[in-house]
């Protein structure tokens, strides 16, 4: 996945954060539970930030190496793209 892409949610897909901090992705007729790091990455998806910027913020927040964060974020985004939930362009 190109570092300069600006991921955006498809219409009909949105992130919901609960009062206790847990989060889920609301999709057509479903809800996908998210772990903390997936929720943090998706909270940065706005069609403006690039993949690079999202990875950098995840690295800073979770104190993980860039390579590891990039792999996790890319895997997550790619999985959602394959299900037509995320636009990668």
């Amino acid at each position: 996945m190109n570092a300069a892409v600006r991921p955006a949610f498809e219409r009909g897909v949105r992130l919901r954060t609960e009062a206790d901090g847990s989060a889920m992705l609301l999709v057509p007729e479903g809800a996908i539970k998210l772990n903390t790091s997936a929720a943090a990455a998706l909270a940065l998806v706005d069609g403006e930030r690039t993949l690079d910027e999202i990875v950098a913020q995840i690295c800073a927040r979770f104190e993980v190496a860039d390579g590891r964060a990039r792999e996790d974020v890319t895997t997550l985004f790619e999985r959602l793209r394959m299900r037509r939930m995320l636009i990668i362009a």
């Binding site: 498809e10 219409r11 009909g12 949105r14 889920m24 007729e29 037509r84």
Partner: protein, 366 residues
């Protein structure tokens, strides 16, 4: 009984009125008994209670929900409370103006049903002329940019068209296609003799869907719902009884699943008489089969008891007369032979009655 489980999804069945007569409909047979529909204010109260209870997904269904003139008002109430809204429709009333009205109200997603990929068969299954209007509606929704899913219920008369259904859905560029083998509730249960697919159809369908899934990955998501009459283990119906899901019928009865009204051994509380939280937490209808403590053997000692949650109570009731018995879809059920027999008898009893608001004349028993 106190509980930590909370519902995630509420299906609002706004009306059972519908201009189509699909014989596979899962609505109850006594449709005429549901004409006393709860009004706009009552639905808005229910939707507010759903949000308070932690529900995140709302489905507007029926019958045909677009026949309710207050649909947009109800969507507006729901989206105002942060709920995700789905409209499950046959699509024939979706004009451009209606789509704009629903989108403006905050609707997140539309699911449109397809009876078959071509006009003659589709209209025959629907019992009326609808196919062309559906295709126009699909194009209009796609044009509007709204998230759209197509759903085709598979049964003996359209199963062999599955490749064409996939091609049609892909040609519209929709994001998701559900190919759902018919489940035998309500009208579908009555018409099971004519609807039951053959094992060859089910297996060929799975192969075609699996191939298409791979071929269209990233372009269109395809979900193929297996028929549990042809499986060895039951489905995790509703993710477990009273664990995630609520339905409210047009006249206000709160059910743990859309088929549950057929279970005459349970009393279902009406939302006119109680709040949603009280119904969820305390009513016998929701607590009787929640969790695992109600389970008979072999379910109670089965290592899948928290995977399938004992399967489907409605199916157990329909086929054994006891909603607390083992789902006959499971090969470990003492009544599994009933399912095996139904798979076979289906092919010899093709007579079907179209869905109608008034009780039709009797059809020959299977």
């Amino acid at each position: 009984m106190t509980t930590e489980v909370r519902p995630l999804s509420l299906l609002c069945e706004l009306t059972y009125r519908c201009n189509l007569q699909c014989p596979y409909c899962y609505n109850p047979l006594d449709l005429d008994g549901y004409r006393d529909e709860i009004d706009t204010a009552a639905w808005q109260r229910v939707i507010g209670e759903a949000a308070d209870l932690g529900i995140v997904q709302l489905g507007f269904s029926g019958g045909e929900p677009t026949l309710r003139r207050d649909l947009a008002a109800l969507i507006r109430t729901a989206s105002g409370r942060g709920l995700y809204t789905n409209l499950i429709t046959q699509g024939t009333f979706l004009s451009d103006a209606r789509i704009v009205e629903l989108a403006d109200a905050g609707l997140d997603h539309i699911q449109i049903s397809l009876q078959a990929p071509e006009r003659e068969l589709a209209d025959q299954i629907a019992g009326t002329v609808v196919h062309e209007r559906k295709l126009e509606a699909i194009a209009r929704v796609q044009q509007s940019g709204m998230a759209l899913t197509l759903n085709c219920v598979l049964h003996r008369n359209n199963h062999d068209s599955i490749a064409d259904v996939i091609a049609l859905a892909a040609s519209f560029g929709v994001r998701k296609l559900e190919l759902a083998n018919v489940q035998f509730y309500g009208w579908a249960y009555r018409n099971r003799g004519g609807l039951m697919p053959t094992r060859e159809q089910v297996e060929r369908g799975l192969q075609i869907a699996t191939d298409a899934k791979r071929r269209l990955a990233g372009q269109m998501e395809i979900v193929y719902v297996l028929p549990d009459y042809f499986e060895d283990r039951p489905k995790a119906c509703m993710h477990g009884w009273g664990r995630a899901f609520m339905t409210v019928t047009p006249n206000g009865r709160a059910l743990p699943c859309p088929g549950a009204a057929a279970i005459t051994s349970l009393d279902f509380v009406n939302v006119r008489n109680a709040g949603l939280a009280e119904i969820w937490n305390e009513s016998a209808a929701f607590t009787t089969y929640r969790g695992t403590s109600w389970m008979p053997d072999p379910c109670r000692s089965c290592d899948r008891r928290e995977i399938d949650w004992g399967g489907c109570r409605c199916q157990a009731f329909a086929l054994t007369g006891d909603a607390g018995s083992v789902d006959p879809a499971c090969s470990l059920s003492p009544n599994h032979d009933v399912i095996v027999a139904l798979r076979e008898t289906g092919a010899r009893h093709p007579t079907m009655v179209p869905r109608r608001m008034r009780e039709p004349v009797a059809v020959p028993a299977l």
